[in-house]
Amino acid sequence: MTAPAQTPPAGAPPAGSAASGAPPTAPAATVTLRIDGVSVTVERGRTVFQAAEAIGKTPPHFCYHRDLSVPANCRMCLCEITGNPKLQTSCSMTAADGMEVSFESARVQEAVAGVLEFEFKNHPLDCPVCDQVGECKLQQYYMEVGLYESELETPKIRKDKVKQLGKITLDAERCVLCSRCVRFGHEVTGTDDFAIVNRGDHAEIATFDDRPITNPYALNYADLCPVGALTSSDFRFRRRVYYLDPVATVCPECSNGCSIFADRSLRQLFRFRPRVNPEVNRSWMCDEGRLSYRTWNEPRGRIERPMAREDGRTVVVTWARAVGMLVERLRGAGGAFAALAHPRMTNEDLLALRALCDALGGSVEFRLAGCDRLFDEAEDRLLRKRDKNPNTRGAIEILLAGDARRRALGNPSAREEEPGRRWLEALPAGGVLIVFRWDEEELGPAGMAAIEKASFVAFCGPWEPAWSGRCDLLLPAARTGEREGSFTNHAGRVQAIRPALRPYGIARDPWAWIDEVGRALGHEIGGASAAATFDRLADRSEGLRGLRFGGLGATGLWVAGAGGNGRKGRAPEPAGGGPADSGPVARAAPTQPAPGGPGSPTSSSTGGQGAR
C-alpha cells in the first residue's frame, strides 16, 4: 500500500509507554499547553484529551475510556496541533510543554462532523425504539457537532438485532465499533467475551459462537457501550433514562463499597450504575451488586412502625413511647446493658451506639460466628469481596480500639468468630440487650441463650426477625437506600451514602433514636443529622479521627493509616461538588494502573444527566 512517508522523529520516545533509559535530569512534573487559547497545566504524561477535559472541554469521543487502553480508532477527538500538518487524535497525543492545540478551528469542526457523518452511514435510525436514547453518544454528538443534512441515499448494511447474550442484549447494527467492550473483556476481566469479526463495514462485535456472557461483570458492557448496541437485558425498556434521577451513593452488597448512582423514578429504583471512584472501583461494579437494586424496592418483611410487647400482646406504639420504654428500662438496669451491633450499620449508628454504651457503662460487640452466613465464596481480584457487609471495617474502627482493633485488622477470621461468642456467653443475666439486625440463624444457640437470659430485649432492623416473638421492643430501621450516612470499606475508604428512597413506614435511622435515648438519660450523644453525629463523634475513633462528613465528598476519604496500595497519608480528594465523574481529572490516579491511563469522566453518566 502506498503510504505518505510517516517519519519517526529520531529518538522519539514511544507515546504512552515508559521511555527506556531514565533521562539524566528529571523533567518537570507538569506540562503547560494552550487549548483554544486557554492555558492548562497537567501532569506530565497526560494526553491532550485529558488536558482538554481538565478545562471542561471534553472532546467528542466513542472509543476513549478513562479506564481502558487507547486505540484511537473512532477518530472523533481530532484536534489541530500547531506545527503538525495532519489532524491528530487528542486521546493518543501526549501533552507537551508549549503545545498550541485547537479543537474549535473550522478545520477540526468540519473533520469531526465528517467522521460523525460516517458513523451514521450504517447506523439504523431506530432511535424511537432504542433503549439508549438519552444517554447515546451518537445522539448527543449529532446535536452538538453534526446537524448536517444527510446525503445518504444508499441502503444500509443489515446486521443482527436483539441478540440475547444472557445479561446483555446485542444489536450489531447500532454498534460503532469503538472496541470498548473488546478492551474491557481483555484488559479488565480477562474473559475476552467480545471480539470484532469480519472486516470493513461488515465488521461487527460478537461473542464466540454467540455464547451468552457469563462473567460476573457483564453488565458493565451496557455502561461502556456509547450507543445502543449493548444494553442491559434487565433494564431494557423499563424506563427512559431521562426520567431517571441519579443519586450518588455506595453499593452496600459487599465490603468493597463501590461508588454508584442509584437511578430512581416514581419512588422506586430502576438500576444501579457504577460511579467513577479511582480509589475504590474505577469505572466498574459487579453484576451482583448492580442487580441488588431490586431488593431496595421490596417491602416484604419490613417493619413498618415500632412495636412493643405489653401484657403478653404485641402492640403498635409511637416512637416517643418506644424510646420512653427503652429509657425506662435502661435507667432501671444500672450498668447491665449490652448491644449487639451489626456490620451493615453505618458509621453514624455505630458511633452513636458506642457513645451510648460508653456513657451507660454497657458493652457492645459485632462479631458473631453466625456472620459466616453472610460470607460466600464469590470473591475475585477485581471488586467482589467475600465479606458481604459494607461496614465491617467501620465497625472495627469504631467499636474496637488499641490491640483489639489491630488484631481484628490483621486477622479477619478472628473478627468473625470467637470474640462474639465469648462476649455472648459472658453477658450477665437480667440486663437490657439491644440487638441490631441479627436473625436467629446467625445468632445461633449462644445468641438465643443470651436473649433468653436478658430481662429486656430490643431489636432494631429493617426486617422483622424470625425470633421477634421473644422481643420486648421492635424498632424499624431505615435501610441503606433510604438514609444518609457513611460506610468504611474493607480498605478503609470512608464514603458517604445518600438516600434514594423515602424510609419505609416510619422507620428511622438508628443513630437518631440512640441520640434521643441518650439525651433522655442525660447524655449528649450525637447531633440532629447523620453529618452532625459523624462530626461530633468521629474523633472518638482512632481510625476516623480528624475526618468530617462534609469532607467525604463524592469519592470519600481514607481512615488514618489506610490508603489503597499503601499510599498512606495521601491528600484527600477535594470535597466533591457534583458526581465524581464530572470533576476535573488532572488529579485523578487509578487504584490499579489502567493500561489506557487514568483520567476522564466515564461516559456512563453524561447522557443520563445531560438529558435532563
Binding site: A10, R75, E117, F118, L125, S150, T154, R199, D201
Partner: protein, 448 residues
C-alpha cells in the same frame, strides 16, 4: 531502449536462478560475509550513503530506518521482511521471491546484522503459495549451508529465519497491521507513534522492510553506497522495479534507473499501447495512488519527486496503464469495491467511507447518479484523507478524488435527474431513507 542498470533482475534469466548454487555462482552471499566483518553502524552508514528508499510504497530512507533501532536495549531487535505484496497492480516482489529468493535472504542477513537481530521473520501473502514455497525452500537451503542458524558463515553470529504465510488480507501489508497479524492477532494497524523502530514486533524494536528494498542491499554492500547513489536522480537514487499491466504490447516487470522519462518507458520498454487503444491515463504506483492523465504522463519522469509534482505518487511501482476502453466510472467502482472489501474496519472514516464510495460508484456506473454525487465523492474523500490510523483510507480516497476530478467530463452524463426530492429537513436525519424506499426493500443480511 535505454541501457538500465541491472541490480535486481540481473540473475533472473539464468536457469535455476532460485537455487543457492546459481546465486553463489554470480557472487551471492558475499554481501552477508562482508556485513559480518563490518561494524553494524558501518553497514547502516553504507546504506544511508546509497540513498536507498523503501520500495514498499512510502519511500522512507532505508538506512535512516535502520538507524532508529536501539541495538543495546533490554529487548531483542527484529527484522521483518514484508512480502505481503497485495497492492493491486503490483507484482514485482513476487518475481524476486520466486526467481531470486537468495538475494532477498542475503539482504535480510545484512539488515539483521546491522540492527543486531537474531531472529528475523518473513511475512508472505497467502495467495503467493508458489512464492512462499520457493522462498521457504531457499531458506532451507541457506540453513543447510550454515548461512542461517547457529554461527552463520562460520562466525559467532546466530540468526534464525521464520517464514510465515498470511491469510490474504490487504491490510496485513501495512507494516503495523502486519506486525499484529504476525503476533497472531487481527490485522488492525497500530497508532504511530510509537513507530515499529521503537515498539514493534512483540513490543521490541523492529525494522519492517519490503522485499525489493532488501534485495537491493547486497549490491550496495558489495559495490558501495556511492556506486548506488550514482544511479538515478539526486533524491531518488538507484533502480526501481515497475510491474506493468494494462493494454500495452509488453506488460511485465522492468528494472528502471530512477528519473527515466515515463512516456519513453511506456513507448520503448512497454512497447506502446496495443493497436486501436489510446492512452487514457496511468496509475503509476499501485491502485492507491491518483491516476495520471496523458498530459501528466508526458511530463513526468519515473522518480519519487517528478511523479509527485505531476499529480501522483511513485508508490509501489505497480504501473497500471488505462486505455480509452475503460470507462472512468468502471475504474472507480473496481477500485472502491476493493478498498471497501479490504478496509479493516477499525477507523470510522475508512470503514464507512470506503463502502459509501463504492455505493456512489455503483450508482454512477448505472447512470443513476445524483446531481451532487461528484461533489459527494470529493467531500467523502476529503473527510477520509489523513483522518485514520493507517494510509488505507488515503489509498482509497486519493484515486477516487483523482478520477472524478481529472475525468469529470466522463462522469457528468452519468448523473441522473434527482428522482425524489428530499424533504427540506433542517436536521438531515429526517430525510434519510434513500431513493424509492430502497432501505426497507433489502432483506436482512443483504450486502449494500
Amino acid at each position: 531502449m535505454a541501457d538500465h542498470h541491472r541490480i535486481l533482475l540481473e540473475r533472473l534469466a539464468a536457469e535455476g536462478s532460485h537455487t543457492l548454487d546459481a546465486y553463489e555462482r554470480t557472487g551471492g552471499y558475499q554481501a552477508s560475509r562482508k556485513a559480518l566483518g563490518m561494524a553494524p553502524d558501518a553497514i547502516i552508514d553504507e546504506v544511508k550513503r546509497s540513498g536507498l528508499r523503501g520500495r514498499g510504497g512510502a519511500g522512507f530512507p532505508t538506512g535512516t530506518k535502520w538507524g532508529f533501532i536501539q541495538r543495546d536495549g533490554p529487548r531483542p531487535t527484529y527484522l521483518v521482511h514484508n512480502a505481503d505484496e497485495s497492492e493491486p497492480g503490483t507484482f514485482k516482489d513476487r518475481l524476486l521471491l520466486e526467481r531470486d529468493p537468495h538475494a532477498v535472504i542475503d539482504g535480510m542477513i545484512c539488515s539483521a546484522v546491522a540492527i543486531g537481530c537474531r531472529r528475523m521473520f518473513t511475512y508472505i501473502r497467502g495467495e503467493y503459495a508458489y512464492a512462499a514455497a520457493r522462498f521457504a525452500a531457499a531458506t532451507d537451503e541457506a540453513y543447510a549451508k550454515g548461512y542461517l542458524g547457529t554461527g552463520i558463515f562460520g562466525s559467532s553470529y546466530d540468526l534464525e529465519h521464520v517464514v510465515h504465510v498470511g491469510a490474504g488480507a490487504y491490510i496485513c501489508g501495512e507494516e503495523t497491521g502486519l506486525l499484529e497479524s504476525l503476533e497472531g492477532k487481527k490485522g488492525f494497524p497500530r497508532i504511530k507513534p510509537p513507530f515499529p523502530a521503537v515498539v514493534g514486533l512483540f513490543g521490541s524494536p523492529t525494522v519492517v522492510n519490503n522485499t525489493e528494498t532488501l534485495a537491493a542491499v547486497p549490491w550496495i554492500l558489495v559495490n558501495g553506497g556511492d556506486a548506488y547513489r550514482a544511479i538515478g536522480t539526486e533524491r531518488s537514487p538507484g533502480t526501481k522495479l515497475f510491474s506493468v499491466s494494462g493494454p500495452v504490447r509488453r506488460p511485465g516487470v522492468y528494472e528502471v534507473d530512477l528519473g527515466y522519462p515515463m512516456s519513453r518507458f511506456l513507448e520503448e520498454e512497454c512497447g506502446g499501447l496495443l493497436d486501436g487503444v489510446t492512452l487514457k491515463g496511468v496509475i503509476p504506483g499501485g491502485s492507491s495512488v491518483p491516476i495520471m492523465t496523458p498530459d501528466e504522463v508526458a511530463k513526468a519522469n519515473l522518480d519519487y519527486e517528478s511523479i509527485r509534482d505531476n499529480g501522483s505518487l511513485l508508490g509501489s511501482g505497480g504501473f497500471i496503464v488505462c486505455g480509452d476502453n475503460v470507462p472512468a466510472a468502471e475504474a472507480l467502482l473496481n477500485l472502491m469495491r476493493f478498498y471497501a472489501h479490504e478496509s479493516c474496519g477499525q477507523c470510522t472514516p475508512c470503514r464507512e467511507g470506503c463502502g459509501w464510495l463504492e455505493d456512489v460508484a455503483d450508482r454512477l456506473l448505472d447512470a443513476a447518479g445524483d446531481p451532487d454525487d461528484l461533489h459527494l465523492v470529493r467531500r467523502l474523500s476529503e473527510n477520509m484523507m489523513g483522518k485514520t490510523i493507517c494510509a488505507l483510507a488515503d489509498g482509497a480516497a486519493m484515486p477516487a478524488l483523482a478520477l472524478v476530478t481529472k475525468y469529470r467530463a466522463e462522469f457528468e452524463p452519468l448523473l441522473a435527474e434527482r428522482r425524489v426530492r428530499r424533504a427540506p429537513a433542517r436536521h438531515g436525519l429526517v430525510g434519510i431513507g434513500g431513493r424509492s424506499g430502497a432501505t426497507a426493500a433489502r432483506p436482512a443480511g443483504a450486502v449494500a
